[in-house]
């Protein structure tokens, strides 16, 4: 535990040692922060990691507007609600990001931006839900060729389990809060994925495109670098 001391912002202690421990810098989850707190955290992280892109997720509209104003070079994605600052790593390995429906796209966009910041190449394959199975079957070869798959689905959450029976690629499933009534804000999809019969499937929190992409990127770039 001979680690770098955290950088103290008063309201936050940045974990600037995380890059050394885990290979990736800390990320700002903007969800419960003021725009000012997010800006200050991003600025400090960028200063601590000049050679590596830093990321903020769940940026609401005011935060994204402030970022655009404050950081000229920021790449801001309105659909995925992400902000990226600084140079992304040379990518290694490939991740396929698939969604069951159109409404899952914001989560997919968060995953795409994250994958890039965490050093891998991501491809988007949207709207291949199991209600029209042939749309998925047409993409099996592309999916099998990826080093890792992020599979995103709301409502019944059935897509990742069906997909995991078709390929041997590691599948990381993301339930989304898309749905109504007995979808219980994404809990139904989460339970479906946890109970999938095909092995090799693992799951993250509801709408957590970020976490899924970090896991997928770490797999993909390990394979990619070893190749």
């Amino acid at each position: 535990m001979n680690s770098l001391p955290p950088r103290d912002l008063g309201f936050a202690r940045l974990d600037t040692d995380r890059l050394a421990r885990t290979g990736d810098p800390e990320v700002v989850l903007a969800a419960h922060k003021t725009p000012e707190q997010t800006i200050a955290s991003l600025r400090a992280l960028a200063a601590a990691h000049p050679g590596r892109a830093v990321l903020a997720t769940r940026c609401d509209e005011p935060t994204r507007a402030t970022c655009r104003r404050e950081f000229e070079a920021a790449r801001v994605d309105d659909e995925g609600r992400t902000v990226v600052l600084g140079p992304v790593p040379v990518p290694s390995g490939t991740v396929a990001v698939v969604t069951a429906g159109t409404s899952d796209l914001p989560v997919a966009r968060e995953a795409m931006a994250t994958a890039e910041v965490f050093g891998t190449t991501a491809t988007l394959i949207p709207d291949v839900g199991v209600a029209g199975l042939h749309r998925l079957l047409a993409e099996v070869d592309r999916l099998a060729a990826a080093d890792a798959i992020v599979a995103i689905a709301g409502t019944d959450g059935a897509l990742p389990g069906v997909l995991a029976g078709l390929v041997g690629t590691p599948v990381i499933a993301v339930p989304t809060s898309v749905g109504y009534g007995a979808s219980l804000g994404g809990l139904a999809a989460l339970l479906t994925m946890l109970n999938a019969c095909a092995p090799g499937l693992t799951v993250v929190n509801i709408d957590n495109g970020f976490g899924a992409a970090v896991a997928a990127a770490r797999i993909a770039r390990r394979v990619g670098r070893a190749r």
Copy 2:
């Protein structure tokens, strides 16, 4: 409401008017009854409906043994836990009963016996769960040809939703309590089915092969008789 008075057994009032109202006699749910109560109910129902088969479901081993002793002509199914007395109707229409896995067979057996008592022909297609999709795809034509489908699945409960995207036949989904952990005794499968994206799917209680088969038989025989 000029209905037949119920037959009073002291502990129960048999709804002998139900045949006139709904086209089918009352059924004995043996689950919370003593063998003696089940026997007495079956005997009274058989006496009230001499020309029509009567059914008891959820018969435990002692009840099944007593039925075998008391009713020489009883058809007893140990796997499906059903007891049938009396002549079944001439069947009309067809029902396909599909299961996702081997462990769903007891529920399927209950559905098969019920379908027969409720006047339709049932065919069993077991173990076509979505983890090995080609098993299901190989049966699509047979499934599309049925007048109604009972689709039974535990764990993730994904089979009925995938199936409902492949055929236009009415699909009645039965979640089963097969699974562990986050399957929550069948609640996960139930939620999956309620949230399925493909329309035309309806759902019954967990492990309720009986109720699904009644609904399917009523659909199938209406179609069959109209043909």
Copy 3:
């Protein structure tokens, strides 16, 4: 699986093969879509199915306004939040849509529009909840004469179970989110329906008038066509 390729809209892949597989074209669930996405999907579906009505459900006010502007011939229902484009099929068979209360009417309206688009004739029987039982008993003959029943109820969700004890017609129960406190957003009504004692009842997701009507229409038109 020699199916038509899906039509790719970038953000969506329309399942234009669904009509061939299931007898009905795909439907647009507008709930999580922008007005633009819904319009584009409707337009593509209408182009793919010129001889058959296409449907969008859960259209919010901006989407309905845009539809009125963009599609001169659209039939827009503000209460049921549906938009229909193109000629509906010649109806076959009949569906009765009953509600327990006045507040269940939006769900009933969604079911009515859906039944028409899916090729059957629907009749509305509102406000016959079990707190005033004679209102329901007065309608039993009309209900028994239908080929399928959609029974819609919030709060305690008791109507469909009582109804299923009165008629042999297939009953598809729709719990609604009407209620407060321990109604748990419709979960209480859903559980009541899943546990109904009278067999022949099947259930769909909370507020899913669309799904119930598709199932009912498929039953009714099969019977109607066979007649």
Copy 4:
């Protein structure tokens, strides 16, 4: 609060003042007690209230056997699992105890014994569940004539709500743990009852025939005594 000191049994402090405060002596809930603890409590309560019956509920088989051995004059009900010692009060007012099904009888028996010990006359009307509505309608006049109604139902728990729409008598609803799957051990019936539309209905804990009967007896005897 100038109350009688509780009687100290070491493991328990009997609330011998309760008769003065509430009009009824304390009752022994035997469920989590050893037979010896139940016997000792009953004996001490009987000694403190020689002129008034004392009651133990939820007595398992060993406790009932011990009670039969220890108390010659005990009235033991094996179905309702109750033990009564000493003279019951002269009854006042009437309570109707109705059940939806045969399997609800143990709860009804607990309610019957309790009503008697708490000083009212109870009548049992079993197996009038809403799946065969005419059974209930045939009893409406008898039910309306009671001073209070205890309505017991498992599975969907719909009986009390339907009944409360038919009479103005206070209805106390008891959900039972009869059912399976989505009945959730009686929670589904409990929720149904809490959400009933007809007013005048109140609810007790699952399987709590005792509590319902105490409330009903207190209503009935107040009315009876006032008459």
Copy 5:
């Protein structure tokens, strides 16, 4: 079931027979209705019951404003969200309405108005929660003197159970949605009340001051009239 035909408003069937069946006219639950629907229902009920007050509950601000405009003689309570039209019955018996805290007052106000419309006299005893027990103990005699008690509490919901141990009067407990976090919108208070150890307590839905008052009024006026 020789009952009056329901009055058909198109969107609603008024249960004008309810007065004959249960002794009290139907009530309008305005919660999910437009102001126009509520006005029309109130007007029809008032016309059907000219000699008896009619009630609407859960009236939001626009509905209350419309009522004030449309019905000169309406008694409108902004805190309790009730509207009353027409002469209340001569009261019979007494009901005590107690609350645990200040924040439970809206539910208490709904109960007060309901009790009056349902023909009994109600007294309010606010803010006697168990965190300051002496406040409750000081009111025990007044509470014991009532014919029925409505006990309203949010957060931990402990008041009704403590009260039921102090008096023999029937206690009807109302959980409220007052609280935060693990109060789960009133479910915690509801569970506390259902599990209270002192018998004689019955429970209604969360925030259901109306239902509790109907039950209490029916008890109180039976006792009052019998006296």
Copy 6:
């Protein structure tokens, strides 16, 4: 129970005896109150306890604005939503308030103000969540030196359990509603804390910084005064 009579404000009965019983005056939970009710309660409490600070928690913006206007000497904390009036006690003992993240700060601020009013010295140690463990390990000595610890965490709620394994100081854990999806509004963090393996940890309601600080202050000042 020879206690001071409560002060009656009409809508509330102030428990002015609480100081005598428990050592601390009553506190105003402003959450479900109007600004006027909060002001009136604060004023009455301040009048009853001129020598001791009184506190209102969960004051929304209008309430805080009114307090600033009405009470010149009020100390108002916008982040912690607290208002304090009157002289705080001479502090005794020390409490450490730690948070897992920046977003837990409002709850920490509520705890800080409460600790001061309840007579102890509080120190804030923010943003030491377990994702960057060295931040916590660097503070262990400071934490071990406190008389009691309030540990605040949302999302996975892991901080208090890790901390309780590092020190023997009593730890009071506060789950927060910070998180999304399967955090279930703080229930996930609450469950984590209740299941922590290290003993010595106790838990309060979600976001209940106030309650945690009262418990911690009572421990700390007992130790401090005994020293």
Copy 7:
């Protein structure tokens, strides 16, 4: 973190450093262990802490029998399911352990044994539940005199909240799994305690008499030692 290396038993790593970190040695939770694993762990802990008592909790009958055989000097409590080996510390401070009912005694016994091993004096005050409030009020002075209180209650869990309004002593509440139906295995009591209005109350896991006693002992002995 210059800590003692854990002692490796193959299946377990004893945390022999815990005494240094927290002031108390590790404890064996026997619940999921074989008798052999528990014996081996106890033996190793006793060897590592010859001057200090070691404790095993949740010992089932076979484990207790084996302990009696293997450790001549073991103090085994069959009701509390604890085993203690070695000399307990000289006690400091006092803890009152109160229960709502007789059925809560096993949890109280676990707390009593734990308090002794963790170096404080514990007094048992059983069966003072709020259904007979005077039993509790008679003990208030004894309770107020303790340095900390462990308050144990099942069913509605109301005791600790009432108690916390009567005294300023820190109260640690233990919900128990005593109850049925809507007690949900202790969850109802847990929620009641988390929502208690009187501050100063903290809560532990269901049936966790051990954890409550550790927290109480740490408070009591700090106060005791400081005195």
Copy 8:
């Protein structure tokens, strides 16, 4: 989808094509099967895959005994409840299997056997739960050196989240049903893991050591083979 036809055993259709699709043969989940069904499935799988080990998980004692009798060469693990037949692949890559406590060992054993059958090398690091953090810190280097980590924990489930903050290795978290009360059969641990702040963590079903090991093995051997 030019796949091998499934092998039909009457009660099951073996998915013998799975090896071609995913790189690994089907596995028998013995949990809901009779010993005879498990034996028949294992035998058929072994015949179909003579060059590759086949696996059965969740084998109860009778099934394990039958396997030992029927298959001379079977490797049976009583703690992990696995049966392996046939030659395991030459391992590639490494997986670390860590547990929080001794009671998590059965799940770890299932993971160990699975990892071997799925072609990787697994190392066990037991009992490093966060209540004694130095046990975990001592193993960080070994953990960081693995290609993937399976982290198993019950009760609070905090271990995987702490671990994911210390290393950049992909961590697959397995909640276990070890715990009591508010652990809710493993749901508490599951929720903790889904809400972990450190990214890179993914989760499987409660007690699903098998699924976690398949995912880990697929990651590890991809990396291993690429090296």
